[in-house]
């Protein structure tokens, strides 16, 4: 029954049943919750409120009673009395208000409340009387009045109030019990419904799954067999749902594949004599088979013609990726080109064979000429050999000469170095001489000082001589002789003075001479310096000369070795020319053989031309 419904309808039906059950369960739970809520509200409105109000009223009544006691006790204190009276009034108001609330909410007999109210109304004149007695200062009477009436009234009210309270408590308990009952019932119903819904969901799920997976499993099995390439499976189904349709389509596909397989087998065996008709316009496999058969037939026809020697055909490939077609096309093209090239080569070959024959005859004549040239060359080589020997000798002499020059240059350099050393010695001695001359000059200065002393002495002697002459003149005739002596002393003083001036001038000369000598030594020193510089320059020149001589010496050494090598080379050339002479003899013989070979080549060419002409190219 299920297999005739579509999978979608099946799934919708199953889920629908489950959702229905869920809604039912939810509705029941909500209804019970609402009932519980109502119960709680009622509980709050009636037993709870009534109890509270009753208690409040009872408390105020007790307070009123206590205040009345205060009135009686503290009657002498007016202020206290008035405060107590005000308190009683306020409490009374609260009691009436609470009683009104209780009367409205009370679920029991409302007459009980009216009774309490009545008692309260009766208590009021009793209190008024007591207060009046207090105001009239009849306190003992007030106390008696209060004790007799008020206590009785209050006790009565108290018992009435307690009665009401009891009723309220009983009512509250009944409310609680009802609520609990309701809760238990709701829990049981909800649990049963949930279990039922779960069971139903499981059963539905199993039924739907089984109806889908059973036929699908057989389809999967068949598809696996097909995937392995086994076309022998039989697939069919009577079911009207999607799986049934799938199985029937697979059966058709298997039949079509079997037909294609047969055709491919025949092609594989090489049988091209068949016609493949595609099942529909979009039958890729069928049209491909059709194309393949056509292409293979075309290629077979082309191969037949090539075999017959016709290379003029062109094979067009079915597509750029057509390997066989491309290869066929390339093959015919290459064969054509190859044939053409071979033809050209054969033509060239025939021309070349003729040329080779003429060349060979020329070769023979030139071989004879070569032989005479070789003998001339041999004579020339001998002459060069002798010249080389001479060169070798001369260059050896040059080398020895340059070697000696190098040694001489080294000696020259040593001499220059020692000359520089000597010059430096001279320089030092020049300095020494200059110093000595200056010392001499200083000593002549000392002489000058001594001369000054001598001049001073001469002056004093002169003065003494004058004084002596004066004394002599004073002595008159007896002093004449003494005057002569004094004159003589004066003359001596004058002479010594002149001598000192001469010495002074000589000293001046000496000093000038020493200055000149110092200058001369300085010039000498400078000259020596120049000499040192020039000799070091000379030394440098000699060094350069030596190095250049050494270079040329090395060069001549190289020349010597290379001329020796040259001589050896010349010998080798002579031997080589000998070999060439022999070879030229052999050349003549060889050219004869070449002539025979060229003739053979010509005949071979003729045969090749015949072979090539069998292929038709254009």
């Amino acid at each position: 029954m299920l297999s005739n419904l579509k999978i979608r309808s099946r799934l919708i039906a199953g889920f629908g049943i489950i959702v229905l059950f869920l809604i039912l369960t939810g509705a029941l739970s909500l209804k019970n919750l609402a009932a519980q809520g109502d119960l709680m509200g009622e509980f709050y409105d009636h037993p709870f409120t009534v109890t509270n109000a009753t208690r409040q009223a009872a408390a105020q009544i007790v307070r009123m009673h206590r205040s009345m006691k205060d009135v009686v006790l503290y009657a002498h204190d007016r202020e206290e009395l008035e405060a107590s009276l005000a308190e009683i009034e306020a409490s009374e108001k609260i009691v009436y208000r609470e009683l009104a609330v209780v009367r409205e909410r009370f679920l029991g007999d409302k007459a009980k409340i009216d009774a309490i109210k009545e008692s309260m109304d009766q208590w009021k004149p009793v209190r008024a009387r007591t207060i009046e007695l207090v105001r009239q200062n009849k306190i003992p009477e007030a106390v008696v009045f209060h004790k007799t009436y008020a206590r009785r009234m209050v006790t009565k009210i108290d018992s009435q109030v307690n009665d009401v309270l009891k009723f309220s408590f009983a009512k509250a308990e009944s409310f609680a019990e009802e609520s609990q009952r309701n809760e238990r019932w709701t829990f049981a119903i909800t649990a049963i419904l949930v279990v039922l819904a779960a069971l139903l969901a499981v059963i539905t799920a199993f039924a739907i799954t089984a109806s889908i997976t059973g036929p699908l499993n057989s389809a999967v099995h068949a598809a696996n067999e097909l995937a392995k390439g086994d076309l022998s499976v039989e697939i069919d189904s009577a079911a009207q749902d999607e799986v049934g349709q799938l199985l029937r389509a697979m059966g058709k596909m298997v039949q079509s594949l079997r037909r294609m397989g047969d055709t491919a087998n025949r092609i594989a065996l090489g049988d091209l004599d068949l016609e493949v008709v595609p099942i529909s316009e979009r039958d890729v496999f069928g049209s491909a088979m059709h194309g393949m058969v056509a292409s293979l037939k075309r290629l077979a026809a082309s191969a037949d013609r090539i075999a017959a020697g016709d290379l003029t055909i062109d094979v067009l490939p079915a597509s750029p990726k057509d390997q066989l077609g491309n290869s066929f096309s390339a093959m015919t093209r290459n064969l054509r080109e190859l044939n053409l090239e071979i033809r050209e080569v054969v033509n060239v070959l025939s021309g070349s064979a003729g040329e080779i024959m003429t060349t060979v005859s020329e070769l023979a004549s030139s071989s004879a000429q070569t032989a005479t040239s070789i003998s001339e060359t041999n004579a020339t080589v001998q002459e060069i050999r002798q010249t080389t020997d001479l060169t070798s000798q001369k260059s050896r002499q040059v080398y020895e000469g340059s070697h000696k020059s190098v040694q001489v240059a080294k000696a020259g350099r040593d001499s220059v170095n020692s000359a520089i050393g000597g010059m430096q010695g001279i320089d030092e001695r020049m300095g020494f001489i200059a110093e000595r001359i200056v010392n001499l000059s200083e000593q002549s200065q000392a002489i000058g000082e001594i001369i000054a002393t001598v001049a001073d002495l001469a002056e004093q002697s002169n003065l003494l001589a004058v004084n002596a002459a004066i004394e002599a003149a004073k002595a008159g005739e007896h002093g004449k002789g003494f005057a002569v002596v004094a004159q003589e002393v004066k003359n001596l003083a004058t002479q010594s003075k002149q001598a000192t001036s001469q010495v002074r001038s000589i000293i001046n000369l000496i000093q000038k001479a020493t200055t000149a000598a110092v200058l001369a030594t300085e010039q000498g020193s400078k000259a020596v310096e120049a000499g040192v510089r020039q000799s070091s320059e000379a030394g440098e020149s000699i060094r350069l000369l030596a190095s250049s001589i050494e270079d040329s010496s090395n060069a001549t050494l190289q020349i010597v070795t290379s001329t020796q090598e040259q001589a050896i080379g010349m010998d080798q050339i002579a031997i080589a020319i000998q070999s060439i002479n022999q070879a030229s003899g052999q050349n003549v013989e060889g050219s004869r053989q070449i002539e025979a070979a060229a003739r053979n080549l010509y005949e071979l060419n003729q045969k090749l031309q015949k072979l090539v002409s069998r292929y038709q190219v254009a």
Partner: protein
């Protein structure tokens, strides 16, 4: 080839060196034996003796002469009669005196005797040249008065014939003319020292309040 002789290249001047050494030795020898050769010495001494011997004869013929000392002062030659002269001496250190006339140069200590020095240039109003160590002092006196006369230099002794003396020319004027005894042909002015010594102007009598 020349390079071979390089180490002793100073050889070139060797000959000169020996000649120089000889010259130097001869020079040293000459210096050490300063005394004249015996012959030369003899010649000098004879010449001197002859000179000395000739002098008395010359004086003999002169007749009356004045012995005097000739000296230079401001480029002019003066002479003083020997009879007034005590001695001559170099002008060494002297002490200038304040509160004296300008012609009194100062005082000197002559062997314990204090004498004043008179600068005749200032006295005669001649141009004054600076003093030096070469200046001389001629000490003059006449028994009562004694002072030193400053001289640029002393020429020497001289005997002037009395008849050769001539009166001073017109160029000598003022106080100079007053103290001149005469002038010789060689323009030597003979000072009348007796008059100078006696002149009251030479006396210094100044009192400083």
């Amino acid at each position: 080839m020349a390079a071979r002789q390089h180490p002793d290249s100073t050889v070139k001047t060797e000959i000169d060196w020996s000649a120089l050494l000889i010259r130097q030795e001869t020079a040293f020898a000459a210096a050490s034996e300063r005394s004249l050769a015996p012959d030369e010495e003899q010649v000098v001494l004879r010449a001197r003796a002859a000179q000395l011997a000739a002098r008395p004869a010359l004086e003999q013929e002169a007749g009356a002469t004045i012995d005097c000392l000739q000296f230079l002062l401001s480029g002019e030659s003066y002479a003083v009669e020997l009879s007034y002269i005590d001695e001559t001496m170099p002008l060494s250190d002297f002490t200038p005196l304040f509160c004296t006339p300008p012609f009194v140069l100062g005082i000197i200590n002559l062997r314990g005797k204090i004498i004043s020095i008179i600068d005749l240039r200032r006295f005669f109003e001649l141009p004054v040249i600076g003093l030096s160590d070469l200046n001389r002092v001629i000490v003059v006196g006449n028994g009562t008065m004694e002072f030193g006369v400053l001289a640029d230099s002393i020429v020497g002794m001289r005997s002037i014939p009395a008849k050769e003396l001539m009166p001073p020319p017109d160029a000598f004027t003022g106080i100079r003319e007053e103290f001149l005894a005469g002038v010789t042909a060689e323009r030597v002015a003979l000072l009348d020292m007796g008059k100078i010594l006696a002149d009251p102007r030479v006396m210094v009598h100044e009192e400083v309040a």
